[in-house]
């Protein structure tokens, strides 16, 4: 059976002046898969992700997200969820109010929001936290909530930009359970990360270096291909910048 492509990228190039952040990227992402985007700092991961989310325009190349061309970013935005690197819920609003706001922005009514919010809080074991200001929540809980809010309008694809940086190991584990659960519901998860152990949890990974894709396959296939024991070793082997600019 042919798997359904939800993201198609062909020869994507993004330049900032003379600097090429993304150099002829070509890849597909399939429905319901967990697609990991790896690379050193400055390798171009976030740039590519921002283009896929409609936050930035490609210099050239063809990008289709959820069947929609990147020249219609507002249409794409209706179908995706996004959780940025920086924490992005409103700290001076409560848990309920944040959920309500994003539900409303995606066109839901209070009637639709309320039951779904209760269900969401139960699933996150957040019951009783509804009227707590985000300010008062520990970072781990905030990140989990941010992820849940990004999923609240039931997008086709969710983009997570280094969602677990700065989070303790227990919460990280719970976070990945949430990612699995999301993917099992048929929602595609596109995730960038620094943590190589997390890369092992992905269905497929892409390794970027200096704006190019240097490897793309399942973690096990890549380990085999390069003869390394872990993705970490593999990463150090192929993702290290070839030269250091003076």
């Amino acid at each position: 059976m042919e798997r359904e492509k939800v993201i198609e990228v062909r020869d994507l190039v993004k330049r900032f002046g003379s600097f090429t952040a993304n150099d002829r990227l070509t890849f597909d992402v399939y429905r319901g898969e967990i697609f990991g985007f790896l690379g050193a700092n400055g390798a171009g991961k976030t740039t590519a992700m921002r283009i896929l989310c409609g936050l930035s325009r490609p210099t050239s190349g063809k990008v289709t997200v959820a069947g929609i061309d990147s020249h219609r970013p507002e249409e794409i935005k209706k179908r995706i969820g996004y959780m940025s690197q920086r924490f992005s819920l409103y700290e001076d609003l409560t848990v309920n109010e944040n959920i309500e706001l994003y539900g409303g922005i995606y066109g839901m009514t209070m009637k639709e929001i309320r039951p779904r919010r209760e269900e969401l809080l139960r699933r996150l074991s957040f019951t009783g936290y509804g009227n707590t200001l985000i300010l008062a929540l520990p970072l781990g809980l905030r990140q989990k909530l941010a992820f849940a809010v990004a999923l609240f309008h039931e997008p086709e694809i969710v983009f997570l930009d280094e969602p677990t940086s700065g989070v303790d190991p227990v919460t990280r584990r719970q976070f990945w359970e949430m990612i699995y659960e999301t993917a099992s519901r048929g929602i595609t998860v596109f995730v960038t990360t620094h943590y190589m152990d997390e890369a092992e949890y992905c269905d497929r990974i892409t390794i970027m270096s200096e704006g190019r894709i240097v490897a793309l396959d399942t973690p096990s296939a890549l380990r085999q291909q390069y003869g390394t024991a872990s993705v970490e070793e593999l990463f150090v082997k192929i993702a290290r910048p070839q030269r250091i600019n003076a």
Binding site: S56, E75, L89, E100, G103, G104, I105
Partner: protein, 370 residues
């Protein structure tokens, strides 16, 4: 539309939870009215007048006592020589120096032409001109006394007698002139600082990126920032006006409704400008710089202190796009002259065009892409 209601709910919740915002909204109008209105004045009182009397005659003493009796001057004796007088001006101990030559009384007696010399510190040209005109009016008075003392009937003295009636501000109270202007500044402070910084803060903290990745429309976002601060601005204007009324007993000749209508249009223009500026910058520091820079220019060019009609042509042309200039004019006309709608309709219309212009600039200028 429903989306806008959710956004407004969010803005109001944030405003109500922000203690700084509440303090600012109450303190700014109070302080501005109570400090700026009475402090800024061009009325001149008790200028330091140093007198060098080289004549030492009854005539010269009489002139000096006349000057000393005026509320405009505080007279002191000055050194004999002109260098000493110059030193007094230089140190700021005297604002003007009157030198009475030693042949002054002889001149009055008709032997020579009587002359006086006045040196004026003209660093502040307005003050210098006012000082000069006060002084000459006292001297003219004195002159009249001298002539009358010769026995001539006042009617026999040729000359045109003018007596002014000051309309719209009969007591020449400077506070009446400044208060409408300070109310304009109040609206600018609330609109430009609170609304603009609010959006830039969201850009800095990253919440705006999350908003940008939603299908929200640009106008919805901008209007959700305009409406709360529009309401706050009008509340603050009402507060400022009440304080002014109680503290300074300003006559309000025109329609309060018209006054608020014009202020509301102006507020929209200011909010549009604020949000437009915030689309040009990437952090709060840059925003403050841009906002402060343009606010200064707009206020100083608006005619708050100096009549804009006497500015150079290009400056007057600039004021076509200066919302502050419109409201400065409208407010004074409505508050002091009791101008009605037909008197200010043109200014109101142009101000509305500007307001629409700034709002569309803000919406067009806003980038959902970083």
């Amino acid at each position: 539309m429903r989306r806008l209601l959710f956004l407004l709910k969010k803005e109001f919740r944030q405003i109500v939870r922000n203690p700084f915002m509440l303090r600012a909204i109450i303190m700014v109008p109070l302080l501005q009215m109570l400090i700026l209105v009475p402090a800024i004045t061009f009325g001149i009182k008790r200028l330091d007048l140093a007198v060098t009397d080289n004549d030492r005659s009854p005539a010269s003493r009489e002139l000096i006592s006349k000057l000393a009796g005026s509320t405009f001057f505080k007279t002191t004796a000055a050194p004999i020589n002109i260098a000493g007088a110059g030193a007094l001006l230089l140190s700021g101990d005297a604002d003007l120096v009157l030198i009475i030559p030693n042949d002054f009384s002889e001149g009055l007696a008709g032997m020579t032409k009587p002359r006086l010399q006045v040196l004026v510190d003209a660093v502040n040209s307005t003050q210098a001109m006012l000082a000069w005109s006060y002084l000459t009016s006292v001297v003219r008075d004195y002159n009249m006394d001298v002539v009358m003392a010769t026995g001539a009937a006042p009617s026999a003295i040729p000359g045109i007698n003018t007596s002014p009636r000051y309309w719209y501000n009969p007591t020449l109270n400077y506070k009446h002139f400044m208060l409408p202007g300070v109310l304009v500044i109040l609206i600018i402070a609330i609109g430009l600082m609170l609304a603009g910084l609010n959006l830039v803060k969201e850009l800095e903290t990253g919440t705006l990126e999350q908003i940008n990745v939603t299908p929200i429309r640009k106008w919805e976002l901008i209007i959700s920032k305009v409406i709360p601060f529009f309401i706050l601005g009008l509340l603050d204007l009402a507060l400022g006006l009440t304080v002014g009324w109680i503290a300074f007993d300003i006559p309000f000749e025109g329609s309060i409704l018209l006054f608020f209508a014009c202020s509301a249009i102006f507020l929209v223009a200011v909010l549009g400008m604020a949000l437009f500026f915030s689309t040009l910058v990437s952090n709060r520091q840059q925003y403050l710089f841009v906002a402060f820079f343009f606010t200064m220019i707009f206020i100083l060019m608006s005619g708050i202190f100096t009549p804009s009609e006497s500015m150079p042509r290009w400056a007057q042309q600039f004021n076509w796009i200066n919302p502050v200039a419109y409201l400065m004019r409208i407010n004074r006309m409505v508050m002091l002259k009791g101008a009605g709608f037909s008197d200010i309709a043109r200014d109101m219309g142009l101000l509305s065009v500007l307001a629409m212009g700034f709002i569309s600039l803000a919406i067009r200028g806003y980038r959902k892409r970083a």
